[in-house]
């Protein structure tokens, strides 16, 4: 079964052979017994086959009909032969109109060249098989080569080809001898036109073009870049689908209860029930978070950090552990990433002084290579100059501090204290009532201001004690 994707989309770029229809009209006129070319008979050993013309007759007729001179008529006649409307009986491989007594015959309409009926490879293979049968295994060299090629590439259909060839051969034998000869000649002529022997010029040479030849934008450079892109795409490392799908399944299983589309929203979805208790309970500044929220913090460090309440809790834990500098550095780097371009230089300097200089008050413990890179980058600070260090610090926290946090009494206490708001089950009437009684929500600017004041207070209070001052104090004693 052919793969039917190439439904002649190349039609756009093949030269449209509209001349074919006109040529057909000419041929029909030509073969007319009264006003067409005079036909004689061909005498073979026993049989006579009618409807044979000589080359010069054809030329004379064309010249007369189209009012051309002999040269043009010769050209037109050769075109007729080259397209396959007329075929020569002697010297059948050379498709030209010889202006002498050599014989020509008309081709049957089935074998006329038509734009939409391409000569298929399967048909050619069947023809070669039939020819093989007729010539008892002695095909011409190029035919034999093509035959072998078909046997290799059309192998799935080879049985069909053989079967069909034998059947067509037998069907042909049912006809009279003269007709059989004519049929063989016709078919041979057709295939010489459609699949010319090597080094022969074919008039029907319009290959399927999948690219518009008039498209000037496809330059050498375009193809060069396309090739490079595709090579790089091939060289990319691929993840096995079992692995990626496994990761997807794991993610879904972890988060499926927290998705308001998949699991009911406690206490109720504000968009549906017109009751904004859910938002009130999940504010960043709330004192006691919901259980779902607390559970979510345990999924990953990123979840914890993305929730402001979670961050606060984590910082509380770190204060108890006296290891808050990683978190502080991470937050400072985040500020730089999201901050304004004007403050970039100042911020980078403060960060450098606070965290990176050896002996700094909040010195972070990162490996030498990253430290070197960061310090060098800070000479020309840009938004993402601390990216390497930030990632390193994040990984440190994730691998070590995070798990200790989850096992810590801070977190466990929070889990105990977390509330589970009961589900509202509003009826439609109650929903409408809620809609009417809706009060305007808190202005987000106010919330942000609250958060800012809280943050400043927390910074001042939570700043770890400067070792050097304590030391001084101790020394002073």
């Amino acid at each position: 079964m052919t793969i039917r994707s190439n439904r002649d989309h190349a039609q756009h770029y093949r030269p449209r052979m509209t001349c074919l229809k006109k040529v057909e009209a000419l041929v029909v006129e030509m073969q007319d017994s009264k006003s067409g070319v005079t036909a004689t008979e061909q005498k073979l050993n026993v049989t006579t086959i009618p409807h044979v013309m000589t080359g010069q007759d054809i030329l004379a007729w064309i010249a007369n009909k189209m009012k051309m001179d002999a040269e043009e008529a010769q050209a037109l006649g050769t075109m007729l032969v080259a397209y396959g409307y007329i075929y020569p009986l002697q010297d059948h491989k050379k498709l030209i109109l010889k202006p002498d007594g050599s014989f020509f015959r008309f081709q049957t309409p089935y074998f006329w060249p038509v734009q939409k009926w391409q000569a298929e490879d399967i048909d050619y293979a069947i023809y070669l098989a039939k020819r093989n049968m007729r010539k008892k295994g002695t095909l011409e060299v190029y035919e034999q080569a093509r035959y072998n090629e078909f046997h290799k590439w059309l192998n799935p259909k080879w049985d069909f080809i053989v079967m069909q060839a034998t059947e067509q051969y037998r069907a042909n034998k049912q006809r009279q001898k003269a007709d059989r000869v004519v049929f063989d000649c016709q078919e041979r002529a057709y295939w010489i036109v459609q699949r010319p022997p090597p080094r022969a010029h074919s008039a029907l040479d319009c290959m399927d073009r999948l690219v518009d030849p008039n498209d000037e934008t496809r330059t050498y450079d375009h193809y060069r870049r396309t090739t490079i892109y595709l090579q790089q795409a091939m060289a990319r490392s691929r993840v096995k689908s079992t692995v990626s799908l496994g990761a997807l399944v794991k993610y879904i299983n972890t988060y499926k209860n927290h998705d308001p589309f998949l699991a009911p929203c406690t206490p109720s979805n504000p968009w549906l029930s017109e009751d904004d208790t859910y938002w009130e309970l999940n504010l960043p500044t709330v004192e006691v978070p919901t259980k779902m929220r607390v559970e979510r913090w345990s999924f990953s460090l990123m979840d914890l950090f993305n929730d402001p309440r979670g961050r606060k809790d984590f910082k509380l834990f770190l204060k108890k552990e006296f290891s808050g500098e990683n978190m502080a550095f991470w937050e400072a780097a985040e500020d730089m990433v999201w901050g304004s371009a004007a403050s970039m230089a100042d911020q980078s300097q403060t960060i450098f002084k606070t965290f990176l200089i050896p002996g700094a008050p909040r010195w972070i413990n990162i490996d030498g290579r990253t430290m070197g890179l960061t310090v060098k980058g800070l000479e020309h600070p840009h938004r993402y100059v601390l990216d390497a260090a930030q990632t390193h610090v994040f990984l440190l926290m994730k691998k070590d501090t995070f798990f200790r946090y989850l096992k810590s009494p801070v977190y466990k206490d929070m889990q105990k204290r977390a509330i589970v708001p009961p589900l509202h089950n509003y009826s439609d009437a109650q929903v409408e009532q809620n809609a009417r009684n809706r009060r305007p929500g808190t202005d987000p600017i106010l919330i942000w201001q609250q958060l800012e004041t809280e943050r400043k207070a927390a910074d001042l209070a939570g700043k770890p004690v400067d070792i050097s001052t304590i030391k001084n104090k101790i020394d002073r004693k």
């Binding site: 079964m1 041929v27 029909v28 073969q31 007319d32 061909q42 073979l44 050993n45 026993v46 009618p50 409807h51 044979v52 009986l89 015959r105 008309f106 081709q107 049957t108 309409p109 089935y110 074998f111 038509v114 009926w117 298929e120 399967i122 098989a129 093989n132 049968m133 007729r134 010539k135 008892k136 295994g137 002695t138 035959y147 046997h151 192998n155 799935p156 259909k157 080879w158 049985d159 069909f160 053989v162 079967m163 069909q164 060839a165 034998t166 059947e167 051969y169 037998r170 069907a171 042909n172 034998k173 049912q174 006809r175 009279q176 001898k177 003269a178 007709d179 000869v181 004519v182 016709q186």
Partner: protein
Amino acid sequence: MGKEECKTMLDALNKVTACYRHLVIALGSTSDSQNLREELKKTRKKAQELAVANRTKLTTLLKDKSISKDDRVEYERLWVLFSSSMELLEVDMKRSLELGQDFPLKVPTRHLIQTGMTGATTTVAARAMSVQNMKYDADANIDTADLKDLETEIVQVGQMREEMEMKVQVAPWAVEAKQEAGAELKSTVSVGNSSVGVISICEEEPKDGEEGESGIMKIFAGIIFAVVLLIAGILGYLVINLS
């Protein structure tokens, strides 16, 4: 057994497809006639019946999950044969529609192409229909009336092919051919007589093949002649000696 039935039915479909193609090639030429149009119609109907029968048989066989692996491979091969036949049939039907429209028979001046074929295609059609003689009983305007039927039938065949492609999951490229290259040479039994005759008739055949043939014949004839001479000589010698 299912397989044998399938094979015989496929062979029949194959035969009908080949004959149909032969008939379509004759369309528009001087061997075209009312009879030809009728033959085309009958052959087409037969081909469709066979196609439907084949399809139902093969789909039931392929849907059966309890067949062995070898059987499955064999059925897939038969399925590929069947679908290739259907492709050819569809193309031929479409072309016969076009040609039938281009070469109507009922016009006052028919312009059938003088291709040199003058004989009738009765025998081919008889082979297709598996009958001894063809009976012609169609009315005069079969060429135009038939074309409408032909259009609907083409649509039907197209739909059948779409269904086949969708419903049966057979990978056509995975089938391996059982015949090797040159298998058709073994299959023709009576190739010898007619083909030699045709070669000698067709004067435009290239001379090289013939030369080889005739050369061998000459040498063979020479050898026989020499043997006969030898025997005659020996007999004569014996006669002379005895007498």
